[in-house]
Assembly symmetry: C2
Homo-oligomer: 499 residues x 2
Amino acid sequence: MEDELARLRSILAEIADLRGAEAILGWDQQTYMPAGGAEARSHQSAALARLAHERATSAELGRLLESLERSASARDPDGDEARLVQVASRDYRKAVRVPSSWVAESTRATTIAEKVWEEARSRSDFSLFRPHLDRILDLCRRYVSFFPPADHPYDVLLDNYEPGMKTAEVRAIFDALKPRQVGLIKALARRPQADDSFLHADYDGKTQWDFGVEVITRIGFDWERGRQDRSVHPFTGWPGRGDVRITTRVDPRFLNPALFGTIHEMGHALYSQGAAPSLTRTPLDDGASMAVHESQSRMWENFVGRSLPFWECFYPRLQELFPAALGKVSLEAFYGGINRVQPSLIRVEADEATYNLHIMLRMDLEIAMLEGRLSAADLPAAWNAKMEEYLGLVPPDDAQGVLQDVHWSGGMMGYFPTYALGNLMAAQLWERIGRDIPGLSDGIRRGDFSALLGWLRENIHRHGRKFMPQELMRRTTGSDLDAAPYVRYLEGKFGPVSR
Amino acid sequence: MEDELARLRSILAEIADLRGAEAILGWDQQTYMPAGGAEARSHQSAALARLAHERATSAELGRLLESLERSASARDPDGDEARLVQVASRDYRKAVRVPSSWVAESTRATTIAEKVWEEARSRSDFSLFRPHLDRILDLCRRYVSFFPPADHPYDVLLDNYEPGMKTAEVRAIFDALKPRQVGLIKALARRPQADDSFLHADYDGKTQWDFGVEVITRIGFDWERGRQDRSVHPFTGWPGRGDVRITTRVDPRFLNPALFGTIHEMGHALYSQGAAPSLTRTPLDDGASMAVHESQSRMWENFVGRSLPFWECFYPRLQELFPAALGKVSLEAFYGGINRVQPSLIRVEADEATYNLHIMLRMDLEIAMLEGRLSAADLPAAWNAKMEEYLGLVPPDDAQGVLQDVHWSGGMMGYFPTYALGNLMAAQLWERIGRDIPGLSDGIRRGDFSALLGWLRENIHRHGRKFMPQELMRRTTGSDLDAAPYVRYLEGKFGPVSR
């Protein structure tokens, strides 16, 4: 049994090494790769993905896992080894259902579709993208067909990003949440809006960058085991133990993208930097799910980074760095501005109160397409109708509507809900943290984040992917995922803001 | 036969993809990787090297090559396909001789040895490094033993960097060259030395960088298909078609490292950028040998970049950028300073007249160690004795002596001669170019490098690795590798300099 475990670890380590190499190639592609390298890179990334898939579906791996599962009762059920066998077995059983030919076809199709999507978005011409979306929908339906019938076909896609989560559960949560969010937005619309015009002013790019570095260093980003670069679309990559990379973008005429983007990505990075060393080079050295990951980034970006205590700490320094733009803006006015609520067209720029509605819209449309009730051809009209229904806005063109996100072109159907679920998890964790750390706000006000970071490390980060997301939530908060804490959070916050 | 060729290309393309991915990991390691990522990176690089070696030694590849070699007469002997089969067969026959266990052991040993070497050099303590050098010598001897007996065991090592070159040939060339170089240095030492103190002054780092970019852009570096970054040890990597990366280092108190380093690496990069597109994703998309590569970098760095016409073009601009340091230095004084000859301890800082002696010394010692005439323990004393004999200097410590180069710690025995051979090839090509392009100096003086670059592309670059280095030299210059042009070049140049 020890030999089998050692052999398992060795196979899984090689897969982790290949995935890590792939992550570096992906990071490089979005940061430093010269334009001329795109074609070679697509071959290199595809080769690594293919080799990792080969190894992740090998007969030897299957035999080892089967044998180790039989001896599972001999191991501590919460220990690394029991969980490793469990998680690796789940991964294996999913991976072997997917034929290599589908993986290869999907890689080719999405590589092309991503390029076409870029072109379509820049020309705001959905018709260019439509045939590719059709092909991707077809690939998704075939993917679903490889698995035993689920309660809903969307379950199979969702499981790739939020393991164990069911469509019906997400729907129940969203159905309870939607009327509350819509009501809140309507109520806020009737009140006077905070001024946020000062956020659009001259903000020197390098100073913005340096301030972001100052903030995340203070919070606890470990520069020995991470770095930050620029990219068009900010992201976090973790190509290997001790190497967690965030990116940001800087707009010299708008403070928010770099500031809140940097704090957001740092939230992802702290999660990765906090995994227990014993998980190194195993599939457990990852986040529990996309939603749990997003709970970390959103908590730091919004629950901390858009809170009053946080700015009581950092605002004097920010004013000092940007005297022209902020010298005459009071702390309270600044706080009001960064928390201004206003329905808008673009998801990634949406505020805390409206963000989830962007997600619900996307999930509705994905399900309708998967069920065959909505064709790709009818998607733009359906998008615009939903935007009007949920947010009272109609996009003037497809670039600001149905073409705004990269996900579908990359084949990532079932991903969007995790953003909203992440918001809910963040609120649920935040209530628990508030009970566990009585002086939390005072600490933040002093710029001391050690208690908060310590709590997250102990309860979330160190476990990596050992627990399913729902189990992790139950272990840390005592209850299942629930929308109520997020509603309480929003109402608690946005009552006072616009009063 | 067409099917076999297509299958061969597909296998070789995958190997090229893996090697390209490995190159990106190596580039990243030396440019941006945070310190904490070193351990994970060593596993990732080893995994890619192992997989590439597995594929490069597969039985299927062997069968294909054997069958395609039988049908060789049907193909144009100078065409891509004939050369592809020939080069891939040679690579295959070498690779299958080396057991995977040796590859794995060597990777582990050199990964450790490189770290120990860094430590040993920083503490100038050879005794730390000695056991690792013993182990590497043992690995080298075992490597040699995998091959049929050669004229000299060193031939087997040399062949990895300079295919087809024999130890006896290199010795004959070096034996003819050494007395001429030593005599030249002695003659120069008796004449008054040019002043080069102005090269050591305040040179703003960013301005140095920008000037380097200006120069290599003018020469023809293609930024759509390449980039430049900083690293401690400058190098050129070519992780894939359309993606050639150079690095440089900038010393704000010394002009030479960034200036000549940038031009040197650009020489390597132009070679890679100039390979024919038809060679993409094959083993032919590479340089003919390390010496041919070095002939390109040295030609641009020294034959062009340290020439008077070059500075007639660029010196006014350089003076404009650094008025404090160079405003009162005449063009002639500048030319004298950058061409000052002075025996020195460090190979990478050596001038054109003394450089090859550093190489001869290393080759002598490598051969003595391989033959068992010299033990690792006696190496520092032997090094110092040779330094005194060849250059009249004794290193004050091992950091400035036997520990200065990374090569041995990386297992790269047999590499050093290619630097000197590259100098000789550059001179031989340069004589031919002088005959083929009558107005060469005038072009350079006007900053028009198109004729020179065009010649190199046509005669060297586009062929990639299609021809063995000796064959390439014969095709381009009409004669075998020969030291006489380099001697003529040195005497032609260093006569006038110090007169």
